[in-house]
Point group: C2
Chain length 248, copies 2
């Protein structure tokens, strides 16, 4: 049971959009309860009357907080930023904020919606892989060109921002054993690869945000993609262990 007043995150451990919000909550040190919504079990728990009443979009994440329920991951993160500003996830400079939002929107509106479960279900089975690869590949090609101009240690400059919260789960999707190597070729995507797999992952892992796996879910954990264990592109010598939850 959620304590009164404690935020409740409706989340699925494999949902990259939920993962963005889990990172934000963790980095800002916000204590919350998780209400798991399994997008596969029972024909999809997001379609239950109970959940639809809460979030008509029938999607995770949704965050119950401060007496309201907010859907859409970026809207949630912006709300957290405005009401719990420390540490900040948007830079102070409006131009840098624009870059952060551009990258976030590119991932959240231009890549993820085209390769998520509900869309792939509408594509003929033989075409699904090619469809998802195309969405991911063309999105990452654009991202590469942008990151080349914006990145420092992180996507925009040297601070972790909302853009990194979007990039990390999206690279994990692109880097799944099924998608690889077509969606994220070895010879490209150096920025996304470096930023996500090392610098950002390390920051986020050390903030303890790779967790959040819902207890109820009993799906077998897929093996870690090899790239997470060894990355030829990245010069960083050491790497913390990647818990299985990193694949969420």
């Amino acid at each position: 049971m959620a304590k009164p007043g404690k935020p409740v995150l409706y989340s699925y451990f494999r949902s990259s959009c939920s993962w963005r919000v889990r990172i934000a909550l963790a980095l800002k040190g916000i204590d919350y309860d998780t209400a798991p919504v399994n997008l596969i079990k029972d024909g999809g728990q997001q379609f239950s009357d109970e959940f639809q009443a809460l979030n008509p979009m029938k999607q995770v994440p949704a965050l119950k907080i401060d007496g309201m329920t907010i859907g859409q991951s970026l809207a949630i993160i912006e709300y957290l930023e405005e009401t719990r500003p420390t540490p900040r996830l948007l830079p102070q400079d409006p131009k840098k904020r624009a870059l952060v939002r551009m990258i976030s929107d590119l991932i959240a509106g231009g890549i993820q919606p085209l390769q998520n479960l509900s869309v792939l279900r509408q594509v003929e089975e033989q075409q699904r892989l090619a469809w998802a690869q195309k969405a991911i590949s063309s999105g990452f090609n654009a991202l590469e060109a942008i990151l080349r101009g914006t990145a420092g240690k992180y996507c925009v400059g040297d601070e972790v921002t909302m853009a990194d919260l979007c990039l990390v789960p999206q690279v994990a999707n692109a880097d799944s054993p099924v998608m690889k190597p077509h969606a994220l070729p070895q010879d490209g995507h150096r920025w996304a690869d470096r930023l996500s797999h090392r610098r950002v992952s390390i920051a986020l892992l050390s903030a303890g945000v790779a967790g959040g796996r819902e207890a109820e879910d009993s799906a077998p954990e897929p093996p870690l993609p090899p790239r997470l264990a060894s990355c030829a592109l990245c010069p960083l010598p050491s790497q913390p262990p990647h818990p299985p939850q990193l694949r969420a």
Copy 2:
């Protein structure tokens, strides 16, 4: 030729995402030049090297402003809001801002990307209409439930916000002669219908924002959908004439 310092909007008159930004620029009274990017002519002008160098996402809109180029319509609108705050397009109350962003993200990330030209081209021709109708219909079903709780005169309360800037072009897409009546049934979507077609349209038309049609484009103008000429749901007695540009 753009004057130095004057913002340049890379835009296509049929692009609903460009339309959102045209409304924002008009409401804020920002003088700008339009650089038309025809998504159909010449195999798609967004694929030219020149445009890709400017916007690796190969999408409109993109706004050249204050020495930078911003892509993604909502990132552009947020930047305009932070640097040209009058009149505001986000409410002052953080909770209302969250609702505005949730609705905006639902449209910009949950409906539009699934029914735009580049995605429909990947769907087999016989399936395209059904695909687009499904995306629009399920999105508007969610929107209806949300607007019922948030709307006053406009999507959130009684002020025009970014959410309205997203709703108006999306309803125009849903209301095209091809999509109708399947995507936006007569017996539903009362809120979206009312808000978009009358209250918001009137406000936005009177702000002179229905224009913006790029001079270069010579595609024949489709006929206005009948609903724009007469709307049974709406009690407002008078209606300004709809110029052809309303279909942009």
